[in-house]
């Protein structure tokens, strides 16, 4: 079986097999089927007519990258130029001015340090102010909620009072009407009253 597999692979790779070897493959039902299917693909591969490539912009393969390259090249040039200028300044500077330069560098460093301290202090102040502002905002929001709650309570109370007054007035009116009816009934002659 392993021999047949090897033969089949050789045949697939296009190596010429002897008649006996081909016979061996064709006599095996599994490999005969694989061979016939492979022949279909081989036939398709042989008959395949390349489809012409539609018109397209070949330049687009470059243009999408060139912008990035220009920027990266420009960046590299900028770095190289600044390094060169710094080295030239350092090398061409007269040696006598070195102590003065060192003094200046020390002063600059001190200045930078004090600036850094100021920046740190400012940062702290800003952080503290932010916290304070947050607390104020919290208080404000709390008060607004409380006020809203009290106002709603008052509104509901006044509504309930109004409904109670209305109901009392309705009841008084009904009582009056009932009294009128009772008086009318009493004033009517006895003959007009229905007898059971």
């Amino acid at each position: 079986m392993a021999n047949l597999e090897m033969l089949f692979e050789q045949w697939l790779d296009g190596k010429v097999l002897s008649d006996k070897q081909l016979q061996q493959l064709e006599n095996d039902p599994e490999y005969a089927a694989l061979m016939s299917q492979a022949k279909v693909w081989q036939q398709h591969s042989r008959d395949y007519k390349a489809v012409p490539v539609p018109t397209w912009d070949r330049q687009s393969t470059i243009s999408q990258l060139s912008a990035v390259r220009v920027f990266s090249v420009a960046g590299a040039w900028a770095v190289a130029a600044s390094v060169m200028i710094c080295s030239l300044v350092f090398l061409l500077m007269p040696q006598q001015q070195a102590p003065e330069l060192l003094d200046q560098v020390a002063k600059q460093t001190q200045l930078l340090e004090s600036q850094q301290k100021q920046i740190d202090q400012l940062q702290k102040i800003i952080t503290a102010q932010n916290e304070l502002q947050q607390q104020h905002m919290y208080q404000l929001a709390k008060e607004a909620i409380t006020t809203g709650r009290v106002e709603r309570q008052e509104d509901i109370n006044s509504l309930i009072t109004y409904i109670k007054t209305q109901r009392a007035q309705d009841q008084a009116y009904l009582r009056m009407q009932l009294n009128d009816l009772a008086e009318q009934v009493q004033e009517q002659p006895m003959a007009a009253i229905a007898k059971n």
Partner: protein, 180 residues
């Protein structure tokens, strides 16, 4: 105007010569486009993939050391990009659902036989899962050995063989279905 060998063109393109690069593209675009077309079955997708491939090739051009032929190197990039493209596209639609499109190229318009062959090939390839389709493409259309397929797809030789045998088995079912 003058004949330039591929090595010269590559060297010039590596130095940033646009004309040399465009000549290289022109020399390889047909192979790449037809590969993309067979794999994706859709001319628009094939075009997109081909463009992506050449952008990728251009980007990697400084890394080409000539250890393999330029064509082999390009096709290694093609395989990688096609797998990436397929994975991206898979989220949108199944390739089997793509409607068969009539070929619009003038040279083929009159040639019904070629059109029919292309359609049949397309339908056969569409029946296969992507991994098997890749192996079939490499085996029968790029004429690679199992070792080369394994190397290009970063799989074992046995996996490459089993994928091809499964693909051949699927073709048998397809042909039986066609024959009724």
């Amino acid at each position: 105007m003058f004949f330039q060998s591929i090595e010269t063109l590559i060297a010039k393109a590596q130095q940033g010569n646009k004309r040399a690069w465009l000549k290289l593209v022109k020399q390889h675009e047909s192979q790449v486009y037809n590969y993309c077309l067979r794999m994706l079955s859709n001319p628009d997708d094939a075009m997109d993939l081909m463009q992506e491939v050449f952008i990728s090739v251009y980007k990697s051009l400084p890394n080409f050391r000539g250890e393999s032929s330029f064509s082999t190197w390009v096709f290694q990039i093609v395989h990688r990009r096609s797998v990436e493209y397929y994975r991206r596209r898979k989220h949108y639609q199944s390739l089997d659902d793509v409607p068969e499109q009539a070929c619009e190229h003038s040279e083929l318009e009159g040639n019904r036989v070629v059109q029919a062959q292309h359609q049949q090939l397309k339908s056969m390839l569409n029946k296969l899962p992507w991994e098997q389709r890749l192996v079939v493409e490499l085996k029968f259309f790029q004429h690679c050995t199992f070792e080369e397929i394994a190397e290009q797809l970063d799989i074992s030789t046995n996996t490459a063989k089993s994928r091809l045998y499964s693909a051949l088995g699927k073709l048998k079912v397809h042909l039986e279905a066609v024959d009724g």
